[in-house]
Symmetry: C2
Subunit: 255 residues, 2 copies
């Protein structure tokens, strides 16, 4: 590595560390900071690998070729659909969480922007399809499900890294629950058929059970696995936010 | 939060970010850097929670009360034991990996130093007992096993965070294998009886199968789970180290 490459590498490391800590400190779902973090993580080669994988299905290939978005989403109309349909459940989820439907977008200038927008606008549909709630555990379940489906993507694994350090520093009491979600999401995402490229706007009226059966999505694992994942190892502490000024020291022993 | 607390918090965040990126960039097993990272992560309250959990078994309680170490370990003598014993397998592992036995230590001044040293000196025994090899996947399997056993510990989950970002940046081609190890280690660690405090020096001559049976350690999951974890989603790329100067940009779309 020559000197200029070395400096570039050092600068990149600093930027990644800085943006990493920014997302670690930000609340879940801080999309602007996550976007900046994604930018510094995704590279051309990584994108190429991901695109190749997503093109393996005809629906994925077509979505990429057309850079197809959801288009206009009318939550009030979807809410009127029967209660067991994707459309109704999605509209109810959006309303309950105070979310607005995704904007009708201009064509994306490249695959990266397309995929970023695609993930943003289908994320809440994936919540419904995978049966993941909006707790932190639910978000982690979607993340590992997404990591398995958008594979390989530096972004998703780096997002997990962020959530793990966040858990370590600020919410260690959630650790068991989050690890169960990580395991469950990964297994569900590996078992499921590829979701990327499915034109959800053509399936609003489909019963959710039918969609899950067709996509091989089942959030319940074997009884043995469920027992392992859900037992509690300890009484959850009421609060365990990391204290700024009571670090311990062992370095003199290992330096 | 007053101004001084705010400054302390900001400084702590910077230090964590800096040490985090240092371990992200360091090779696996860089104990000195990991020690500095651990120091900035462990706090009194977190230690208290961990100690309470580790004291649940009589062996754990005793180990903590006596701050008991392995003592002198003679690898040549252990190597002479029958091939299926813990002692022989441990000695063979140490020799094959060019490792020296842990030093005979002075009594630890506090629980934190004791636990750090305890984990250092039993780590390679846990490799044998859990059947984890010394590949990166094997190390991650031990990490999640350890997270389940030393619970709750900010350190282990933060170490996972480090390895996830490392994977994202430098070895995305290992992602499937590492995720399988994360899942397997967590499940194994939750299923197993508590290992902390077992006086391994009294079990060198015990056959490894007997130890695993007594501790309920089995690295093979159900056939269904094994199929999900080990299938390959994509052709592994030959190399995918993160390039320093070809980032992509989406932030203008989400800012």
């Amino acid at each position: 590595m020559n000197f200029i490459s070395f400096l570039k590498h050092q600068l990149k490391t600093l930027i990644i560390g800085y943006r990493f800590m920014q997302v670690v400190e930000a609340p879940y779902g801080a999309f602007s900071k996550i976007g900046k973090y994604a930018d510094v993580l995704m590279d051309q080669q990584g994108m190429q690998l991901l695109i190749e994988h997503l093109s393996c299905t005809s629906e994925g290939k077509q979505a990429l070729a057309e850079r197809r978005y959801l288009g206009k989403v009318d939550l009030d109309a979807l809410y009127q659909l029967p209660p067991n349909t994707l459309g109704h459940l999605y509209a109810a989820h959006m309303k309950q969480n105070g979310l607005v439907p995704p904007p009708v977008r201009e064509p994306a200038p490249n695959d990266y922007v397309y995929l970023f927008n695609y993930i943003s606008e289908t994320h809440d549909i994936w919540h419904i399809v995978t049966g993941s709630d909006t707790t932190k555990a639910g978000e982690l379940q979607i993340e590992t499900f997404s990591l398995a489906q958008f594979y390989p993507a530096r972004f998703w694994i780096a997002l997990l890294a962020k959530n793990f350090l966040k858990t370590a520093l600020f919410e260690i009491e959630l650790c068991e629950e989050l690890m169960a979600a990580v395991v469950r999401g990964w297994i569900m995402g590996r078992r499921a058929k590829p979701l990327f490229g499915i034109p959800w706007q053509e399936h609003w009226e489909t019963p959710i059970d039918q969609i899950r059966a067709e996509l091989n999505i089942d959030s319940v694992l074997s009884a043995d696995m469920e027992a392992v994942l859900t037992k509690s190892a300890t009484n959850a502490p009421a609060s365990s936010a990391f204290e700024a000024n009571d670090s311990l020291s062992v370095v003199t022993l290992v330096s």
